[in-house]
Structure formats: structure tokens, C-alpha cells
Amino acid sequence: MSAVKKIIVIEQLKRNQMNELLARGTRLDGRGMLDTRPMTVTPNVIEKAEGSSRVLLGNTEVIAGVKVNVGTPFPDTPDKGLLVVSAEVLPLASPYAEPGPPDESTIELARVTDRGVRESGMIDVGKLVLVEGKHVYAVFVDVSILNADGNLFDAVSAAVVSALLTAKIPKYEVTAEGSITKTEEKIPLPIQTIPAAVTMAKIGDYILVDPDSEEEAVMDARITFVSDDRGNICAGQKGLGGTFSFEQVVFAASTAKLKGDQIREIIKQGVHSAV
């Protein structure tokens, strides 16, 4: 469910006000163009989950939980474990959210987050194999959006990443007969890098980092880039029916790397404080 409904009249009034502010290099809540809202990361909030994390980004609040079981690998990747990210905007998250199956915006949100985690190689899925072609670890990360106030992409991504970083999954073993048993031992996931997603909105000709819901209601287009801690860009997605100039795309990619380093630090601090 898309979280913020556009109300055309308010949108137009707000847009004018925002444009005046943006021309002076500031925003409705006083932030500069490239400032993010405060982010807090609190891992291990759900004891029954193998890993979990609650992330606040301004007033946006999301919670991610990791559950792990044993599954069958895809036929074309018999030597890789499974990693599945899904998201749901709960009806309690916004006056405009409704219960029901995920709509296209929520599917996009989950798939872009999934791509960031997957393509960065955050989890070494090659190490999640029990019996090649038959039994692999299946890692499910489900994200619930509790309060939607813009930039769900970055909040959801930070929650997924911090939940995976702190997860302790049950160790499974292959018995002599070839069946799989769950042991009492808990192991961390094979982590290789920490990806960070940075989303920017385009309003008029201005690019602003971490849009809140009011800015999202008037934005022309949205762009997300995910970077890893080795300086690579590993996922990207432009959204909405507006456009970016070539220069704006390059600017957004480099801004995402810069801001991604800051978000990575916040995630690391949150994870360390929990250990």
C-alpha cells in the first residue's frame, strides 16, 4: 500500500512553499538538501527471531525480523543458499495504508532492498549449503513498516542489514543417513560487506536526500543507490514518472556513496551497542 496519498490542492500549495525554500537551499523541516534525518538502529528487539532490528528514520519506523529454515535451492543455483526479503506496509502505519496483498510500490520496495543485499554480496550464500542441490539454509527477512513518514527504502534497507548482521541462526547438520537435523548451536551468518541504501527525491530541479512524506507527496522522481563498504555501487532504482538529467544521475550516485558511508557508521554503532 502506498503510504502517502496525494491530495492535489495541498500538494500544489506545499510545492510552491517548498520550491521557495529549496531555492534558498533549505527544506520545510530546516534540513539542508543533503542532510538525512536522525537514524537510530536497535537490534535484537524480537527474541524469537534469529535476528531483528528496529530502525527509526525521522518519524519513519520499521522492524525487520530474520527467520531461517532449511530449503531446496533453485535448480540454476544448486550451490547457493536462499535469501528472501519481503516487506509489508501494515495498516497501522499510515491513514492511507490498507490491509491486503502488497501493491506494486511495496513489491518494488522489497525487491530493491533485496537487490541491495544480494548484489552487494553481503551474505556469502555459497557458505549456506548443507547438501549441494538438495538442502540449503533459507534465510527469510521480513520487514514490517510501523509508521510511514517517507523514505521507506533507506529505513527498510538499514533494518534488513542490521538484522542480518546481528542474526544468530541455528546450526543444521547432515546426519550419516543424509538427513538434516537442527542442533542447539547458534552461528552468525557469513557476512562479507555492509550495504547502505541512499534515496534522493527530485523536486523541480533540486535533488534532496532522505525525503520525508511531505516531500514525497510533491516529488517528481525518486532515485536510490546502494553502495558497499569497498566503494562500489551495487544496486540502483529510479522511481516515479519524472526524469533525471544525465548529470543528476551521476551526482546522485556519488552522493549516495558519500551518504552511504554515514549510514554504514550508524548501522555499525547500533550493532556494536547491541553486542
Binding site: 518494488e108 548484489e119 562500489n232 529510479k238 522511481g239 516515479l240 514518472g241 544525465f246 544521475v249 556519488s254
Partner: protein, 248 residues
């Protein structure tokens, strides 16, 4: 999409040629036809390598359900769908999450080019059917859909042309095909409005350094410009062909 190449077959050989013999910056063969479906208001067919894709436009027309109509502009609706026989393994005909996402980004890629405010309280439906897929089907589908919209006579600011670049065996390449997509390292599909120099679609999966991103992005833009020339030629062939030499 996997980062791990790990395949005995080299994706790029010593001569710097790719598995299908293309140079690093070479497009696959492309063929575009206009007005191929009788019932549709506009239609186009594209072959892009082994991709075979049909696009049809219905509208501007009455909106059903009525409450989804907009008072100030037309509602653009897109459906990207893969036929069950279009892939190596049979594809379940029900729309997958991937197809739902592509339908969304495809609509958002076409929307900036359309003068939707010229058709208030109507709907424009764009159907893209992938009959055979070969990597880069979203780009080929968008390019065909833009031609179909022009064929339908919908008012447009520009065409939309799409192309992907990527990274294969540590090298930036233009127009990633199916094998390169599966075994390569990165895929960067983009769509542009070639006359106003605006990006209307951008997705990326796979790792690129800053430098590689810049190079792949520029190559994809140049690739899209070549696709645009073919789109133009196809439309000119359809509407400005000399008498008795109609290209249908």
C-alpha cells in the same frame, strides 16, 4: 544475477569478443516494425537479439473502473508480461513479483514522454508481451511500447529509447544478453528521452566502481541513441513511405 562468474566458458575471449561474437560496445541485431496488430490503436514489434516482443496501445479510452479516472489527465496503465513459452523453463503465466515491478518502472519510464494532460478522464493501456526473452527484455519492451504509443497518435514530447550496459568478466559491455546477465557481474538498464536528454528509467544490479558506473551509464545512453534511430526509421517507414512501397 550472480556476481560469481565461475564458468569454464570465457565470457570475453582473447580477441576481446563476447560469446556471441560481439565487440564490447556492440548492440545485438535490432528490428522494429510498426502497426502489426489490427485491433490495437497503436502497436509495434521488436526483435532485439533473441527477444521477440509485441507492444499494443489501447486508448485514450473510457476508464474502467470509473473511480480510477483523473480529472486533469489520462491514466497510463502498463502491463509487462512474459509468455509461458518465452523462457528456458516454462514460466508460470500468473504475473510474478518481477513482472509487477517491471510493469511499474515501465509505466514510469514512458509517462514523462506523454502529454497525459491532453486527455483528461481517460485511460491509456500499454500491453507488452514478451514472446521470447533474451536478457534486456524490459529495455526492448519500453522501446517497442514508445513506438506503439507514437503509432497510436498519442501526443508525445519525445520518444523513449532504452538500452542496458553492464559488466562481464571485469569489463564494461553494452547490451547484456541472457547469458551475460546470468553469469556477468552487473546490469544497468536505462531509458532516455533522446531529444531532451532526460533519464526516465534506471535500474542497477551488480557491483560497479564509480569509474565503471560512469562508463556503463554513458555507453547505455549511446546505445539508447542508436535504438532511437531505429525507432525513428521504423515510424518513418510506416508513415512516410512512398506510395505503393508501404512497409507493413
Amino acid at each position: 544475477m550472480g556476481k560469481a562468474g565461475g564458468d569454464s566458458r570465457a565470457l570475453i575471449n582473447e580477441q576481446g569478443l563476447r560469446i556471441d561474437g560481439r565487440k564490447l560496445d556492440e548492440l545485438r541485431p535490432i528490428k522494429i516494425e510498426v502497426g502489426i496488430l489490427k485491433n490495437a490503436d497503436g502497436s509495434a514489434y521488436i526483435e532485439f537479439g533473441k527477444n521477440k516482443i509485441m507492444a499494443a496501445v489501447y486508448g485514450p479510452k473510457e476508464v474502467h473502473p470509473k473511480h480510477s479516472a483523473l480529472p486533469d489527465k489520462s491514466v497510463l496503465r502498463c502491463r509487462y508480461h512474459m509468455s509461458p513459452f518465452s523462457t528456458e523453463e516454462r514460466k508460470n503465466p500468473a504475473p510474478s513479483r518481477r513482472e509487477i515491478e517491471i510493469s511499474k518502472v515501465m509505466r514510469e519510464a514512458l509517462e514523462p514522454a506523454l502529454m497525459l494532460q491532453d486527455y483528461p478522464r481517460t485511460a491509456i493501456d500499454v500491453f507488452v508481451e514478451v514472446l521470447q526473452s533474451d536478457g534486456g527484455s524490459r529495455c526492448a519492451g519500453i522501446s517497442a511500447a514508445a513506438v506503439a504509443l507514437a503509432d497510436a497518435g498519442v501526443n508525445m514530447r519525445d520518444l523513449v529509447a532504452a538500452c542496458a550496459a553492464g559488466k562481464v568478466a571485469e569489463q564494461v559491455v553494452l547490451d547484456v544478453d541472457d547469458t551475460e546477465d546470468k553469469e556477468g557481474q552487473a546490469d544497468l538498464p536505462i531509458a532516455i528521452m533522446p531529444n531532451v536528454n532526460q533519464v526516465t528509467l534506471l535500474q542497477l544490479d551488480g557491483q560497479l566502481t564509480d569509474e565503471e558506473f560512469g562508463k556503463a551509464f554513458n555507453w547505455a545512453i549511446e546505445g539508447a541513441r542508436k535504438v532511437y534511430q531505429l525507432q525513428r526509421q521504423a515510424l518513418i517507414g510506416r508513415y512516410f513511405a512512398p506510395e505503393g512501397n508501404e512497409n507493413s
